[in-house]
Amino acid sequence: MRPTDGRVQKSRLRIGDVLGVGSTGLRTRKMRTALSALGVTIGIAAMVGVLGLSESSRADLSNKIEALGTNLLTVSPGGGFGGGDGVLPEDAVAKIRRIGPVDEVADVVELDVSVLRNDYVNENRTGGLTVVAADLGLLGTLNGEVDEGVWLNSASASYTNVVLGSESANRLGIESVDAGMQVFIGGEWFTVVGILDPFPLAADLDRSVLIGMDVATALFDSELNPSIVYLRTPSESLDAVRGVLAATVDPAEPDEVSVSRPSDVLEAEEAADSAFTSLFLGLGAVALLVGGIGIANVMVIAVIERRNEIGLRRALGATRAHIRRQFLTEALLLSTLGGLAGVGLGATVTAVYASTQEWEVVIPPEAAVGGFVAAVAIGAIAGLYPAMRAARLAPTEALRAA
């Protein structure tokens, strides 16, 4: 029986019951729960997705930069006024080699001949592919890889052998080197001995077919003015080398020589990417804010609709704090559900899109955890005002028939 002494024990709501009490409203109105959590889901999914995708593409870019190396420089004609004949001096490679810190140098010479699948195809049909004579060190200098067959060596480069860039192989319809495939270059048959993987940032070479320097001079009577020179130098001396290259190659007209660093392009791409990311993050934050307002709105409505329930609970002994806790819990559960769904959705979108781009899938844990925490915080803020209103309601007022 009840105690007859003076003390009445405090009203008390068990921790486990706070969850139960805070989730009744959600369980009985499932549709509304789902819709009101949706705003937060979209906001969080946008943020996690954007961060995930930008991390994944960044990972892909830095893989490329790494493969390419940041210590690669290219030297090519042009850049200044007057145009000129579009070639470098014949002794450019020798001069560059003489610059102290330079490790590796390789050049290619663009030839004025065309490549055909066979001798009766119209020349114009395979336009867009370039025939170049390549230095044997080219593959090593560019960190290139052979996909099929072999790269040219000092023996094979003297004969009618050819290695195809990846895109050229596609356009010529050649998938393997086994059958002793031949292509028709400048009126001569060449045997395909290798097919290359794409170069990380030398798309021009992907669209070319490469033959040896010796066979080029022998058959096509070419001059060997380099069209482009690739060189590597230790990172610490990169700026110094870059500074003297133009003058070294063409002391008379250094303006006619253009020097560039291919990895700059990728790094610029990476920077542009992060500007884009901030924009989308901002949009995600707006969506999240709207989601939070949605939750606050739904909670204000719930407090009005469930006035009688509030009155009843007060009559059953709930304190103001218990009522406040109930509605705050409800708002937190809503936003937590929304947040979890958002993290899941954002991660899925990232994984699917990154896979279609053949990127490494990166879902940054900070984004997932941060998104979840943001959702919970939004719920707490959104639930605060409605919960206080519910708690302040006088029991007699709350019990009045609607």
Partner: protein
């Protein structure tokens, strides 16, 4: 120690309740009332006479403008909102005209809510709620939801909820107000039975037939007790020349 008389289940002393306005409403204009342990009393009066206000003041849901309320001997006037909530969670049970069951909860959980704010463990809540539901004749309806129950059954669930924590007093505001006459009769029967088992119950009603069926009738008009069948009898016995005896129905 001197022998003090046992505390009344409920006592009102000089209760005045004013609602501000022009002119202010004197919902209760000086009410003295004592309900002993084990009593079953009706508070009867026309609409607007102050019955619900009296029930709210008795049940600690509202504070009087003047006067003292004692529940089970405890003076409420010095208690803060949290203490009053505690008094309700342990000493008072409410039954309302509109039942006020929570829609998304089974009968068992609705009754269990009567023990929720005293920190009772869920298992024990379910056990005692089941016992209370069996007691009010709803042993077959434990997992039914309110919308699967008739009006009379809903009020039985509400009554089970009001008694599940063994309160000092049960306050019922128009418990049959939303029911047809057959359900009303069976609800009043249940109230009689619970009282016979020892529960102190105050029933508020505007229905004189309902009031007439109860052992004690207190009639209220314009915020005052106009007639109390108990004091009428006792005062006639001891104080024959009582001045305000009038208005006997």
């Amino acid at each position: 120690m001197s022998a003090t008389p046992p505390a009344a289940a409920l006592e009102l002393r000089g209760i005045v309740k004013k609602y501000p306005g022009t002119p202010p409403v004197h919902a209760l204009a000086g009410v003295d009332l004592r309900i002993e342990d084990g009593e079953l009393a009706a508070i009867v009066g026309p609409s607007g006479s102050g019955k619900s206000t009296m029930l709210h003041v008795m049940g600690t849901l509202d504070r009087p403008t003047e006067g003292t309320v004692l529940v089970d001997g405890r003076d409420l006037s010095r208690m803060g909102d949290r203490r009053l909530s505690a008094v309700r969670s342990q000493l008072i049970g409410f039954v309302f005209q509109q039942f006020f069951l929570i829609d998304g909860m089974s009968a068992l959980d609705n009754v269990g809510n009567g023990l929720l704010y005293s920190g009772t463990k869920p298992r024990q809540r379910r056990q005692r709620a089941a016992q209370a539901l069996i007691r009010v004749g709803l042993g077959e309806r434990l997992s039914h939801f309110p919308n699967q129950l008739s009006g009379g059954e809903r009020q039985r669930v509400a009554i089970a909820r009001a008694v599940v924590h063994r309160p000092a007093i049960v306050l019922a505001d128009e418990p049959t107000g939303n029911l047809d006459s057959r359900s009303s009769e069976s609800i009043m029967e249940l109230i009689h039975e619970l009282n016979a088992e020892g529960t102190t119950i105050v029933v508020i009603t505007h229905d004189h037939d309902v009031a007439a069926g109860l052992p004690r009738q207190i009639s209220v008009r314009d915020g005052r007790i106009e007639h109390d069948s108990l004091s009428h009898l006792s005062r006639r016995a001891s104080l024959p020349e009582i001045s305000h005896s009038g208005a006997v129905k």
